[in-house]
Amino acid sequence: MQDNTQAQRRQLLKLGASAVTTVALSAPFISRAQNKTIRIGMPTILSGRVAMLGLSSSNAATLEVEKFNAAGGLNGRKIELVIRDSKGQPQEAARVARELVTSEDCEIILDAEASSGGFAVHEVARDLGVLVMHTCSETSSLSADPKIRTPLGFRCARQGVHDAIVGGAYAAQVAKEKNLKRWMTVSPDYAYGRDTTAEFMEYLKLFNPSIEIVGDVWPKLFQADYTEAITRLLQGKPQAIYSALWGGDLTSFIDQAGIYGLFNEREFFAVNMADYAVLTAVKNVPRGLHSGNRYLKSFPNTPANTNWSNAYQARFKDLPLNWAWQNAAAVQFLTSAMKKTNSADGKKMAAALRGMSIDSPFGSNGKLTMRAEDNTLVDYAVGWGSLEPKEPFMSKPSPGNWKQITELEVQWKKRKSYT
């Protein structure tokens, strides 16, 4: 009798557990269907040495999504960001991106991966036929090369060739003024470092043919000790140095090079220096440093940009980085396309995105454009200038000329057989 009662109790418990499980598992789907939430999948890097990329990207995207939802969303439909960590591994980025679409019901991919992972996510999106907005990959070929470009793939990020043109023009001018003939480079030894450096030096020589490149140094990505790279630079006796080092690598390099006196009587051009992560980490910013803007709240020096930076800082108790503005702009583009098409359909949104211009704090003239020809961002605030150790860090930036950028980019694309 007791055994029978125990058996019945067990059966009852099993049934109860099954019912609870069924309700628990089905509840999100029922709820989602009712709310018609627009799910945007966001693969990014949230762990490891470049976790700040994912953190600043996801923070900025969250900020913009919160604004959109607070304003009523798309006819009451709210956006839900589904953020996943790729750990900085391309294969993991591809796996996560696929899972976000196939298992997590995401309709759009906001790809906040570095270039290595970005290309992998790009191919997954092509395969699954979903709209993808790349927000961190600066490798030009992602959108410039027609063999890689897809109709549903967009880039809302700065681009290597744009930076190279603006930086080359600026550095050539400084070289003329200060008579800097002997140049060396020190950049990370991977695709981004090699490509960016080659493009910068190409435009530097175009604008100032008298320049001589006397050597190059290629430390590994995430190298801890730059001593031998620094002494090699000292042996080359350059008058100016260009670097595409970034993040913690650039900080380490500057700290280590400073004690060798590398920056004494030399000009140093680092495309990735003017970002708060580096500027606040380097305790002793030496004189004679020049950089491209990554993100500064004073460039463009407009109330809209300052307000956005302040809002970000108030919300996350942290300063926005380059990846932050790119992700914020990406969400602004996506939500504008949703409103324009009154839909979250990827194909309809893609058609609306092509050629779309939006008001944005990050535009060179208050506007950003998603160029129709190659689905890539143009008209963003890009400039170079000399750095100071304190805010505003770059008090006299030289803004890039988008007419010049576009003309030279067309020639560059022809040389690369992209057109």
Binding site: A51, K220, A224, T227, T231, R232, Q235, G261, N264, A281
Partner: protein, 300 residues
Amino acid sequence: MDLNALFECLGSMSCIVTQTSTGLIVGALLFLVAAGLTLIFGVLGVINFAHGSFYMLGAYVALSAYRITDNYALAAVAAGLGVGLFALVFERFFMRRVYKSDVLLQLLVCYAFILILDDVVKIVWGAEFQSMGMPKAFQQAPLFIGGGVVPVFYVYLMAAAGLIAGLLWFILTRTRAGKIIRAAAQNPGMTSALGLNTRLIYASVFAFGGLLAGLAGGLAAPVRSMSPGMGFSILIESFIVTVIGGMGSVSGALLGALLIGLIRSFGSIGFPLFVEGIMFLAMGLILVYKPSGLMGKGQS
């Protein structure tokens, strides 16, 4: 390959001074990490794969201590002691349980702690990279010796590493504690039979190895950007040093570290794209011709 540049360098006093001092600097820091690694292996017979994380922890502890005290020496000492203490706890509650286990299980325990410590660092200090900055005492123009450039801070680092190497040699060869450690390394069963507490010896050696890694992290903190996972690259190089010098040999670690330092400094002039390759080539050659390492004892 740029052999002309290498020969040009070898014919110039300023280049020789700069590159030799560079090699010694790189080697000195590597030695501090590798010494702990090889000491732990020599006595306990385990490879502490979490050693790079100890180095990372040392750098972060030094960063916090420096921010509180504004004293670099205190920060470095705090890093050494803090990590030594952590290593003691790690040994007592985790490593001790896997000493007699398969090496794969030891690897698994260490790898778990690499991930845990990376996350702990992320929670406590944040995911963004951080920098201590150069202490004021070392913010001065580099020294020019024979036309070569030697930063003042690195002179101090080399002196600190030399002092630690000397202390290690003295402790291991001239003190009773050193004799006990060497005895425990050679014959733990007999050491235990003589009434010596081998568990205490093991724990002390593990903590001391951790202390050295923490101290290295603390000493290097002014010229390193700190980020979760920063211990991995130093771990790889420390393994190369340990293999070249001989697993378990502290003097071998010193020799291996200086050799790697010089390979890197002169290799970057003559073989700028193959520096890493030369390091691994040197390790491969030593493994083939002297598998026990330069100063390691061969199997009897």
